[in-house]
């Protein structure tokens, strides 16, 4: 029996207004996430991963031009069409919380770390400072922060500690879904591994769902149940981690997998020639066609739909069936 989805996104668009014209950062994204599952969103820089996260939690910059589609979360309803106050009350931090990209900057440099972790509690649950302090202390223990951190200022913490503080801030209200936007970039490898282990433990402990945003396929494989590959504002491949890693069907996914350096295999990592497209004026047809080695006439003309190849493995390519096996995945 199919479980009901915790989050179901369909036809989500987010365009930014710029002097050059609209930036189509999220252009018709659809996906589903069940409770307890982790979705990894992988893509190059500028592919619209963060924008998608902003669109889901509805934190929009001032220069939004178009924001439409639907984001149905749990039993709260559609976030896109909800009024601001309901989003604030039902969704923000109680339902969905987010760890922003570059957590180092997610902390106010002049406010003590503990007070910042307490903020959501004070705002949403009407805690007094003392009450919130106890709760925040518990959240900090959860992420392995020593209690003296409570009264420190952000600049007195290491990068890893700051990241833990930001994660504890995301968890302090016990949400069902946590969006993690590149939570380990800018950390050294050891710290990165520690944070990943922490995320795994928290997920197990609280039955959390994650949307884990990264440009690093290998890192995504550690956590992901489902993987979404994003390219130029669109999802080009979506499926279980097993399907995407072992049987990648989209040429972009295949190239992406081959660009990951592997320890066990004696093979040079490949580069993907060309650059990601300009989102103000994306190429017609398949957005990947200028960089695709298999591109045909139809790819220049027609935009491929996201098609189910069976077992909920969705791919947006005109030649899906034929190209399968053209890749040798991570395995």
């Amino acid at each position: 029996m199919k479980m009901t989805a915790l989050l179901s996104v369909s036809g989500l668009h987010l365009y930014y207004r710029t002097s050059r014209g609209p930036v189509r950062a999220v252009d018709g994204v659809s996906l589903e996430l069940k409770e307890g599952e982790t979705l990894a969103v992988v893509g190059e820089s500028g592919s619209g991963k963060s924008s998608m996260a902003y669109a889901i939690i509805r934190v929009l910059p001032r220069n939004v031009q178009r924001y439409c589609g639907s984001v149905v979360f749990d039993d709260a309803g559609d976030i896109v069409s909800m009024d601001e106050e309901s989003v604030r009350r039902k969704v923000r931090w109680k339902g969905i919380s987010m760890v922003f990209q570059g957590a180092m900057n997610s902390l106010n440099p002049v406010v003590k770390v503990g007070e910042q972790i307490m903020e959501p509690l004070i705002i949403h649950l009407g805690y007094t400072k003392e009450g919130a302090r106890g709760e925040a202390a518990r959240a900090m223990v959860d992420v392995g922060l020593p209690d003296y951190v409570m009264d420190r200022y952000p600049h007195e913490l290491s990068g890893g500690m700051k990241q833990r503080a930001v994660i504890s801030m995301a968890l302090v209200m016990k949400p069902k879904l946590v969006i993690l936007d590149e939570p380990t970039s800018a950390l050294d490898v050891m710290t990165q591994a520690n944070i990943m282990n922490l995320l795994k433990r928290l997920k197990r402990q609280y039955g959390l769902s994650y949307i884990f945003i990264t440009h690093d396929l290998a890192l995504a494989s550690e956590l992901a149940d489902i993987v979404a590959i994003m390219y130029a504002g669109k999802i080009v491949e979506l499926g279980s981690a097993e399907d995407v890693y072992l049987r990648p069907a989209h040429p972009y996914t295949q190239k992406l997998l081959r660009s990951v350096p592997l320890l066990r295999e004696d093979r040079e990592p490949e580069f993907i020639p060309g650059a990601p497209p300009d989102l103000v004026d994306p190429p017609p047809g398949c957005r990947f066609h200028p960089r695709c080695p298999y591109a045909k006439e139809i790819c220049r003309r027609e935009e491929p739909e996201l098609k189910d190849m069976g077992g909920e493995h969705m791919v947006a390519c005109h030649f899906t069936g034929e190209l399968r096996g053209g890749a040798d995945g991570l395995g």
Partner: protein
């Protein structure tokens, strides 16, 4: 490179550690101590007496500070006050004679600037006759007063009043055989006998013991007379006196609390108001921002000083009213623009975005995230704008538009200017108030420089 300090305590510590900050703090603390001791050393009623000229009559007019006597003992003298008199009462038939005798030593190298005799007389019905005679060290006696004083205090302006100058004229006639056109009793009385004894430049001072004898004759037995002789010098106190004999030390001391209170309160209130209004405008939205910024433009170009002068013409003003007007005209202004530009930067920061995402209201973000970021700069801005308010108060007082009830540095300067102090060389009357204004401004300026360096990492030394 060290991190930007956070937390108000740490900021103050860093500021105090820097040279400029320490010096600025020291200057202002010194001023503050002076301001705090002022009510003790010179109580408010003394300051209130600033306009009561009788209060100051024991002081010499336009006297230089007393300490100049150490620098130049030959050209400065102090004031000699004789108020201890022996009492002798004798009865001659129906008359009663009261004789009061006192003496003093005059050893200065220069002549007094003025001589004044005060006679406090008391009787029942009939005025007594009083005769006051000064006996000089050379044995010559000079009558200073011969008349029938009324009940109460009588001021005998020996040097100024032609009535009494005439008595000195008799003495001069006896000594020299003629009476000069202009008589200077304060010189004649204290000069060695010579034909120049009425000439300050050429006469010699007769040093020694002078005896004042005051005789009062009356039909009444219970007659009393209390004389007091004041021989004014040309130096007095720490800071000298003005043309109305007022002790400038008192004025200078009262200037400290006035300047500090006015400068600090005006700076703190206006800067805080401007910071909050500018920040709130920028944070609420483009329309509020537009309104606030245009208002700021308006307030920046309106000429505050002329308007304050106008208000002053219509209303009588005291220092608190003046302060209120100044604040009213600085609700928005330059600082509004600074805080606005800071908010425009801060609102792009990730933690503001994060706060929005965890559901903080705009108001909460303003008070919890944005204002704490601006507060450190606020200290620098307060210290920076305080001197301009000190100057404003001084300027208004200089023009005679300050609080007329209490002395302030600007008022002292204004009165000095009106009296032509610089032209006549009464330097103490100008230099000390100006110096005080400069010291306070310097203190604030150094402090703002130090604050700026601490809160603005770009300006920090390696």
């Amino acid at each position: 490179m060290s991190e930007q300090p956070v937390g108000i305590k740490q900021i103050f510590k860093e500021v105090a550690k820097s040279k400029a900050g320490a010096l600025g703090f020291a200057l202002l603390v010194a001023m503050l101590i002076l301001a705090m001791f002022t009510p003790i050393l010179a109580p408010y009623n003394v300051a209130r007496a600033w306009n009561d000229l009788r209060y100051w009559q024991d002081n010499p007019a336009l006297a230089a500070p007393a300490w100049v006597r150490f620098l130049s003992p030959n050209s400065y003298s102090g004031t000699v006050t004789l108020s201890n008199f022996s009492l002798e009462r004798s009865f001659h038939g129906q008359y009663t004679l009261v004789r009061r005798t006192g003496s003093f030593v005059y050893m200065y190298d220069v002549f007094p600037t003025e001589v004044r005799l005060l006679l406090d007389v008391n009787y029942t019905a009939r005025k007594p006759r009083v005769i006051a005679t000064l006996e000089r060290p050379d044995g010559k006696g000079v009558t200073l007063y011969n008349g029938m004083p009324v009940k109460g205090e009588n001021v005998v302006s020996v040097s100024v009043d032609p009535k009494y100058q005439k008595l000195i004229g008799y003495f001069l006639y006896e000594e020299l055989g003629y009476v000069p056109a202009a008589i200077h009793p304060e010189i004649v009385l204290f000069a060695k006998k010579s034909k120049y004894m009425n000439d300050r430049q050429r006469a010699d001072v007769l040093k020694g013991t002078y005896i004042l004898e005051v005789d009062a004759i009356s039909f009444e037995k219970n007659l009393s007379v209390q004389p007091k002789l004041i021989v004014y010098g040309n130096s007095y106190g720490i800071a000298g006196t003005d043309n109305y004999r007022r002790d400038l030390t008192v004025g200078l001391m009262w200037g400290a609390p006035v300047a500090l209170a006015f400068g600090t309160i005006a700076a703190v209130v206006t800067v805080l108001l401007q910071v909050v209004i500018g920040a709130a405008g920028a944070w609420i939205g483009p329309r509020a921002d537009e309104i606030v910024q245009r208002a700021a433009d308006f307030f920046l170009v309106i000429p505050v000083l002329p308007i304050l002068i106008l208000i002053n013409v219509v209303y009588t003003i005291n220092i608190w009213l003046l302060l209120s007007w100044v604040i009213l005209f600085s609700i928005v202004g330059g600082v509004t623009k600074i805080s606005r530009s800071m908010v425009l930067q801060i609102r792009e920061e990730q933690y503001v975005e994060a706060a929005l995402s965890y559901g903080a209201s705009k108001k909460r973000i303003l008070t919890f995230h944005i204002l704490p970021r601006i507060i450190p700069y606020t200290f620098a801005l307060i210290a920076l704008s305080a001197p301009s308010y000190v100057f404003l108060e001084a300027a208004l007082s200089f023009l005679g538009l300050g609080d007329p009830n209490i002395p302030s540095w600007g008022r002292l300067l204004g009165q000095a200017f009106d009296a032509g102090a610089l032209y006549y060389g009464w330097w103490w009357w100008v230099i000390f108030p100006a110096l005080m204004i400069m010291l306070v401004s310097l203190g604030f300026t150094l402090l703002s420089y130090a604050f700026d360096k601490v809160v603005n990492p770009r300006l920090r030394e390696e």
